[in-house]
Symmetry: C2
Subunit: 411 residues, 2 copies
């Protein structure tokens, strides 16, 4: 009998979906399960997006150009200009969500067997893209004690080999919420320049920085023209995760052209959803103010509640809508399963993401979890009350390494 | 400076897009250019599809399940049952168009460096997917003199090595329109069974078989449960190329599970377009009758006109909406460019696809073109008149190997 490929067998289960079967079972038992496991916000999608699709007069739903419609690319250019990002029409390739942009960036910048350096913990799905692209991830570990700041550059330099082709950053970071300072990004770019590496920058959460901070796009770094490949998506920006529209943006025309050729294999991005994306690109910058304020309030609530729980370590994330916390438990994955199988508090419980799925180095993150503060504050507070009570009675409770709570906010 | 990966540099330009810049230049000069180069039909998309999207009451456009919504998978199951294809709910994984299904099938069934056998000429984009997946395509040549029928099984056997992992067929075939007979498919499956190979079957054009013929799904072959991976799309079925919704369907649960894990990396297919696809799946089988009759009339027109042109060889395609013809020209790609740059007939010309992009073996198909009969009969007739007149005056006219016109229709 033919067998599934080794890479097929190696594909990991999404770290934020590992506990899904247990959550489904819990719900079938009538429990309320608060979903803090996945970055699926409850924020309303701007009605303009769906209105644009409704209003479209389409007789034949035909292919679009491989790099996206000209009209959408023009509007994206204007959006980037408003955001202070020097991305021109010809630098923008529309993709099927940020996922495809990451995939194309890896295929375009790295050959099979090449290495890409990523600070861990990182978005677990990068591992899946690396397997699909035959690329080896080399982690550099960011530490919760440092608020998940960029590890010292020497640690990046130490792992560069002749197979290293790229450094990948997610800024603001999923899962840590860390927002890279401009000087950190400049240092990374300088490293890339010295070693002929690409700097792939995942900026999905650009708009969601708190306390007045602003994310720095890698595209805005001086001298990054040949090195920087930015990947982007509308999923989080407009709470439109189901509209699979993203972008790969680079001023390196060779990279753009190669990515475009990869893009030809899937002909074009989803056409109806590009219409929705185009309407979103027309929204003024002020659109984000309300959503940002809401996320900041949720972050403040989450961090305050976590820090009040004995034994919990929790940096203050400066952006995105996640926090990675260390819990006083033997094993966060077992704890997560126990929350769904064994625990209830007034018939409620929560689903979280064990952080081991966000670390590449085996054994790291065993006591850490990622919480996505994507539900309304009432439910969020209820979920955190569940967590607080669960930690008091969890049979596998164990004191973690004591650590002062630290700030991860960027200036 | 960092350089684009070798695979990025190796990515081919889509064979049906090679002449696009020349077509654009011709249109800017005011010429009418009939697009016979790409399978983008002018048939109206069923209004039910767009109505379903308009009617959807969506507050938060969130992620869908990775394998597609349950409701769409149930409707697809019913559609397959109506089509006599034994595909169950749990066999169906919804993908982002047929493209992604092909990509996942390759990633799941083959390791880097493994070989996949495909009868050429084949859908040129398979080459791009193979490069992306690090897979080596091994061609077996179908001949225009045989109406592009399945080459003798001995020719497949002759190229099987220890790295061979799969055979890929497109049925009905893009670009030849050949419809594989059940006994041909059974012979292929038997070969796959003997050598532990997967049989990947691209059935995008299932509904469009002519003269009363019906396509045989590889999924319906006895004993194919572990071997067959079917890839599908709604693009051609409902003239909805811009809705990027397809499916990977297999009764091999291991393959399904691995494909599902690859699917987790892109989280889910486009949600709005799955709504459109769901409405399409509700259309009765009779929906296809009108479209099929229209395509058959176009095929008849195309074949009759081509055969009336001196020196042209043209099999009768039994399905899909393409024909591969051999023209009395020195080089079909140069001819195609000349059509756009140098030629007009009453200010009209046509764009075709040089067939060399559909052959894997260098040098083959030099005198052949693929024509897509996707435009209305009036325009199609005008395009063929252009072609007829162009062949009379093309300076690179050369008599091809004389061949009797043959039938490619399956019984």
């Amino acid at each position: 009998m033919p067998e599934v490929s080794q890479r097929g067998q190696a594909m990991p289960v999404s770290p934020f979906r590992k506990l899904l079967p247990f959550a489904e079972a819990a719900r079938q038992q009538g429990k309320i399960v608060y979903p803090l496991n996945i970055g699926q916000p409850d924020v309303l999608t701007p009605p303009e997006m769906l209105a644009a699709v409704r209003a479209a007069d389409i007789q034949v739903l035909g292919y679009a150009p491989g790099a996206g419609t000209d009209s959408y690319r023009r509007k994206l250019e204007a959006y980037y200009q408003r955001a202070g990002i020097p991305a021109r029409f010809q630098d923008i390739m529309v993709t099927t969500a940020g996922s495809e942009a990451i995939h194309f960036a890896m295929l375009t910048c790295l050959n099979p067997g090449d290495e890409i350096i990523i600070a861990e913990p990182f978005y677990g799905t990068y591992t899946a893209f690396a397997i699909a692209a035959g690329v080896r991830i080399v982690p550099v570990t960011a530490r919760i004690e440092d608020g998940f700041a960029l590890p010292p550059l020497a640690e990046f330099e130490a792992v560069i080999t002749e197979r290293t082709r790229a450094v990948l950053v997610c800024n603001p970071s999923n899962p840590t919420g860390y927002v890279y300072r401009r000087d950190e990004l400049e240092a990374l770019l300088s490293l890339c320049q010295q070693h002929d590496l690409f700097l792939i920058s995942d900026e999905a959460y650009r708009e969601y920085c708190y306390d007045g901070a602003q994310a720095t796009s890698a595209l805005s770094l001086t001298g990054g023209e040949r090195h920087v490949v930015m990947v982007d998506t509308i999923s989080k920006r407009y709470s439109a995760c189901g509209a699979r529209v993203g972008a790969l943006v680079t001023r390196n025309a060779d990279v753009w052209q190669a990515a475009f050729h990869f893009g030809q294999m899937r002909v074009c991005p989803p056409v109806l959803e590009m219409l929705a994306a185009e309407a979103a690109a027309d929204l003024p910058a002020s659109y984000f103010d309300g959503t940002r304020a809401e996320y900041q309030a949720r972050r403040d609530l989450t961090v305050a509640r976590l820090r009040a729980m004995p034994g919990v370590t929790c940096p203050v994330p400066g952006g995105a809508f996640y926090v990675v916390a260390r819990l006083p438990v033997d094993d966060a994955q077992q704890f997560g399963q126990w929350l769904l199988e064994e625990f209830t508090y007034h018939n409620q419980t929560l689903m979280l993401s064990p952080a081991n799925g966000f670390y590449h180095t085996p054994g790291l993150g065993r006591q850490e979890v990622r919480l996505a503060y994507v539900i309304n504050q009432t439910d969020l507070a209820a979920a955190l009350t569940c967590l607080e009570n669960a930690l008091l009675v969890y049979p596998g409770r164990s004191e973690p390494v004591p650590t002062a709570n630290v700030e991860a906010v960027s200036i």
